[in-house]
Symmetry: C2
Amino acid sequence: MFGLIGKIRAHPGRREELVSVLLSGTGAMPGCLSYVIARDVADADALWVTEVWTEEAAHRASLSLPDVQAAIAKGRPLIAGFDSQTRTEPVGGAGLPG
Amino acid sequence: MFGLIGKIRAHPGRREELVSVLLSGTGAMPGCLSYVIARDVADADALWVTEVWTEEAAHRASLSLPDVQAAIAKGRPLIAGFDSQTRTEPVGGAGLPG
């Protein structure tokens, strides 16, 4: 499996708009096992996106999906920056299909 | 929903043991929607644990489950420290039940 854990910083006061945009982009994504959008409780402009994919190629392919491309275009002006982005190799746990 | 994103540092060379211990502790946990254990690709001793719970009380209650208590006892000597621990409020996405 392939994973990403990213902390995204919205422009001040724009986090909820960014949440809506990200939710709109996470429909049918082949190979996506988990994609969770979460507010940082202690940081009013920060969001965390944690992703699990069957393999890295599935994540790469998702970036060409129309819904994802639309979300990227709509989300970009709301994003001040990426505080961190980590590549992971998910091993298992609970709540993953299979 | 209630979430946690933690970066755990194993003692040098002990990460795979810690993975096994954590996997053994993630059986039936009421209120757990997702619990993913992942290796950091760029940091040989680091693991990420990303959790989504129905509510914080469910997470707290899980710490009393026998399997979880056993995993905590077995895992503690393998852990050098916690590089980061973030509380989140998951909003949605893909791969969550319901």
